[in-house]
């Protein structure tokens, strides 16, 4: 799986599906190369495990503009509690050291955007930005059961009829920094209250850059550790175990070391001047599992036999209607 249920026991991190990241995507807007689409999906199997966004948490898309594995820009989405069946989002854009902090800082760029709980997508426009949040069809595709059955793939897409809660942002490329080569990851936070009386404090919940990293490479409690740390700590903490996994698939030590250096830190690289897909950003239709299977298994397994869904939209918010 991409990042669905990436805590031990195939559960959501901290048992909270609302902030359980399933996937992130980043791609050029079709027909407007000066804009990009950023998508952060959460809540696997929605609405089975959770029916709303977490109002005691924070959803973030972190942008590394200089290759130091630290965020220089962050888009932060905070949701109100559900009242009378409605929930609202505020989106902030933080820069500099504020982008690295675990707090709800930054300039408000979108206010009081309604969450969509039904089939109709309520899109909010604010200046150069577009925003959507709500339940949609899960765009991820994978023969999960075939994978569990020791790679005996049957071409059955486990996610074909599943939903997620999607957060979609259309942003001008200039808001992603002057350097077109950026790195992106998502980080969700859970509030721990306001102990010091100034603002809510937060703790790390889930984290994801590329698909199928934490879920595929890490065992047991290592999954929780991976979620808790920041990308800048990835190599120190996890490079040796990643190399071990890669060597078990037949890579030499040098090859495994080189690939681990690509996979870590877990950041999705994206050149916003390029429309190429994964590993440059990630489009909804990119078959990231096939790419990952080939890479991780050293070519022993090349496909799971399933392809992109047919319900993606060719316009904002791009995610298909919920099932």
């Amino acid at each position: 799986m991409a990042d669905h249920l990436d805590a031990p026991g195939l559960m959501s991190p901290n048992g909270n599906a609302k902030t359980d990241i399933t996937d992130i995507y980043a791609f050029q807007k079709s027909g407007d190369n000066d804009k990009s689409i950023l998508i952060l999906n959460v809540n696997p199997l929605a609405p089975t495990l959770a029916t709303e966004f977490e109002s005691n948490g924070l959803y973030q898309l972190k942008i590394d503009t200089n290759g130091d594995a630290r965020a220089e820009i962050a888009f932060r989405i905070q949701f109100t509690p559900v009242v009378n069946g409605q929930q609202w989002a505020t989106v902030r854009r933080a820069v500099g050291e504020d982008a690295n902090a675990d707090e709800n800082s930054g300039e408000i760029i979108i206010k009081r955007a309604p969450v969509s709980f039904g089939s109709q997508a309520h899109v909010t426009k604010s200046g150069p930005y577009k925003f959507f949040a709500g339940i949609r069809s899960d765009p991820f595709f994978f023969d999960l059961i075939g994978f569990l059955h020791n790679f005996h793939f049957t071409g059955s897409d486990f996610f074909l009829d599943k939903n997620v809660f999607g957060i979609v942002l259309e942003v001008p490329n200039k808001t992603l920094g002057d350097n077109p080569n950026i790195g992106i990851w998502a980080r969700t936070l859970l509030s721990t209250g306001d102990a010091d009386g100034d603002a809510n404090d937060y703790t790390h919940d889930d984290r994801m850059g590329r698909p199928a990293i934490n879920t595929v490479f890490n065992h047991g409690q290592a999954k929780n550790v991976f979620n808790a740390i920041d990308p800048i700590q990835d190599r120190a903490q996890f490079e040796s175990s990643f190399i071990g996994t890669l060597e078990s698939f037949g890579y030499s030590a040098d090859q495994a070391d080189a690939i681990a250096d690509i996979l870590l830190p877990d950041i999705l690289m994206y050149n916003y001047n390029s429309s190429a897909g994964y590993l440059n950003g990630r489009k909804l239709t990119d078959d990231v599992i096939d790419i990952s299977l080939k890479l991780v298994t050293n070519g022993q397994i090349t496909t799971d036999g399933v392809g992109p869904h047919t319900d993606y939209l060719n316009h904002f918010p791009y995610l298909g209607q919920p099932h």
């Binding site: 031990p8 195939l10 559960m11 609405p47 059961i145 059955h149 939903n163 879920t215 078990s248």
Partner: protein, 155 residues
């Protein structure tokens, strides 16, 4: 919009019969004879069983009467690896096996059965069930999609 709540999810998972044959290493838990000729056992395997971390636990458990050579065994795929197993079963991945033969081979047990409800069998999945248990070695063997699966017996 189809709403699938947790209760329905679990009901779907547990209701039907389910099949699983695996091809990796299984852990057999809690094997022992109770009440005379009734053999009770529980087996757990992490899946996938090769190289990558296990996401799920494949559980084989049941009761077999060694005298009448009959009984029922269930096969269930639970979310979470062994040791971190949840109680959430994957929909459509459970099977009920009707035991058709059981033999005490002098310390090891061969149990044979059939999955009567074949509607949920996957491509390449056999409707027959055959497992060899060796309590002394804490191991067992079965086949899983054409590959041998090594079982480890606990308890």
């Amino acid at each position: 919009m189809n709403k699938l709540n947790r209760r329905k999810f679990l009901a779907l998972a547990g209701a039907g019969s389910a099949a699983v044959t695996t091809g990796g290493a299984i852990t057999l838990a809690n094997l022992g004879q109770t009440k005379g000729n009734t053999l009770t056992f529980r087996a757990v395997a992490g899946l996938p069983s090769r190289l990558l971390p296990a996401y799920a636990s494949y559980v084989i458990e049941g009761h077999v009467n060694l005298e009448t050579r009959s009984g029922v065994v269930t096969q269930t795929l639970y979310a979470g690896e062994p040791g971190e197993m949840s109680r959430i079963a994957f929909p459509g991945q459970s099977r009920i096996v009707r035991i058709t033969d059981a033999q005490d081979l002098g310390g090891t047990f061969r149990i044979v059965g059939v999955i009567d409800d074949r509607s949920q069998l996957q491509n390449g999945e056999s409707s027959t069930f055959d497992i060899l248990l060796d309590p002394a070695q804490h191991i067992g063997r079965t086949s899983f999609f054409g590959s041998e699966l090594l079982l480890h017996l606990e308890g």
